[in-house]
């Protein structure tokens, strides 16, 4: 059994002071890395694979290209194009593409130190907190890919063999209550979007949500969500992760 808890969109991150016009599609990215060699890379983890899913969708020709159940033939064809694209350009990536960062946190560090010009992250780029902490410069911005970036929800689940189903449901009821969702969405808190439809809440609650302080640096999800892609079937992620290693890293 499961219940949605948060929703967020993956976004690309750049420093507007250094990169006034960040790339918004694969062609522009190719031009960008050639002009700024060494300042782009793909972390070999969940975040990096989420970026690759957006790339794969662009190669399919539309934001809906990966919708539906996993399609082996489609995957093979599109992923081959993707690996060709990356291998063709990786000489302009960080460390000439000879290796890739293990974790996305490392990319954050390198973005903060100026070694990377483009980064990415979940939750509309995940930049609000890092700018407020002073890790990222105040000119940091986040944006969606022209063909869209992944918009996905995360869920609370109860395992089938749970020993205390009623207790778990009580906790979940609390976590999706307007009070808890308001706290979770607060910019000074987790800063992660509510899954509730605010205009269906009682007036008093609606006003509270609307009066809450807004983000100062990260975009609101509504401004990105016209360029959103549905989360593709999980097999795409598993295959991308395996093949990114054999087709790119080990080449």
């Amino acid at each position: 059994m499961e219940c949605p808890w948060s929703i967020g969109q993956f976004a690309l991150v750049y420093d507007s002071a250094h990169t006034p016009n960040p790339p918004r599609n694969l062609d522009e990215l190719e031009a960008y890395v050639k002009q700024n060699p060494g300042t782009f890379t793909i972390s070999n983890d969940f975040s990096g694979m989420t970026l690759l899913k957006s790339f794969l969708a662009e190669l399919s020709g539309s934001p809906e290209g990966l919708n539906g159940p996993f399609d082996e033939e489609k995957y093979n064809q599109l992923s081959q194009q993707l690996w060709d694209y990356i291998n063709r350009n990786k000489q302009y990536f960080w460390k000439e593409g000879t290796t890739f960062p293990k974790e996305h946190t490392k990319m954050d560090q390198m973005f903060a130190s100026g070694e990377l010009g483009i980064s990415f992250g979940f939750g509309e780029g995940g930049i609000e907190e890092k700018v407020r902490q002073g890790l990222f410069p105040k000119t940091t911005r986040a944006y969606a890919w022209d063909n869209g970036t992944i918009l996905n929800a995360n869920y609370l689940g109860i395992p089938y063999n749970s020993a205390n189903r009623a207790g778990a449901m009580t906790v979940i009821n609390f976590l999706i209550s307007p009070e808890a969702q308001f706290q979770k969405a607060h910019v000074d808190g987790m800063n992660s979007n509510t899954v509730l439809e605010i205009d269906r809440l009682p007036d008093e609650r609606q006003q509270k949500f609307e009066a809450a302080p807004k983000r100062m640096y990260a975009p609101e999800m509504e401004t990105l969500s016209q360029k959103a892609i549905q989360e593709p079937a999980p097999e795409y992620m598993i295959r991308l992760y395996e093949d990114f290693r054999t087709e790119v890293i080990e080449q």
Binding site: P37, G38, T39, N44, F46, W94, K95, T98, T99, F100, P101, K102, M110, S113, G114, E115, M237, I238, Y241, E242, R245, I249, E250
Partner: protein, 284 residues
Amino acid sequence: MNSKQSYIGLIFFILIGVLPFASAFIYALLYSFGIVGIVNDGFTTRFWAEVFASGEFFKSFAYSAVIAAVSVVISVSLALWLTLKFRKEFDQKFLSFIIYLPLAVPGVVAGFFTFQLLAKAGFFARLAYQLGWITEARQFPDFVNDQYALGIILTFITVVAPFFVLLFLNVYKNERVQELEELSYSLGANPRQVLWRVSLPVILNKTWTLIALYFIFLLGAYEVPLILGQESPQMLSVLIIREIKQYDLSKVSEGYVVAVIYTLLVSLAAVLLFSRQNRTAHEL
């Protein structure tokens, strides 16, 4: 009374030393054959075949062995040189403090330290930038996450060399190497002969088991290559953890296959090492 005490000692040894290791090994073995594990459904040699077919393990093993060997050889040479050259100076408190300080630094801290110093946006890169030697971060040479594992080897040497200095200094004293040297001189040996025929053989003969154990220790190091290594090839422990934590739960067993092979190889090496020469380690 005496036999009762040794009986209790044996029980403790089995409880603390043998049991956890043996149960972990058996668990890994069962997992590698698909007998345990949530998504596994019964005995299969599929995972073993897969690991042998992909060849990644052997590449990783060779890579780890080269890094460990290079690190140990350089550390031992450096420590021998320091011991023989600056023996007297180490009696000073300050100098011995400086040289032994790295012994107190955990691997993960040493790894981060190297990263902060040598990364392309690290301390030395910033220094080079201020001095005008480089104009962009990416021009700084590759020392961390690099192809030749320079960062890993450098960190291993910093952590391991002080230990060897300490060891060699003790052996030098306990084995009365100085007196042996003086004797050789009085019998007409030249400095080169004293070094190669007397000092080095005496010291190395007493310590080679520990040197070999350090090689095994570095072979299985985790934190330092995790922070400073690259994505391919990876050192053994990093590879094992990656396989065990991968997204595709149906392939988790491959990690246990690698862990089992590695454990067998290292145990075999340790048994060979100690069965041949079991006196030096506890005599020290």
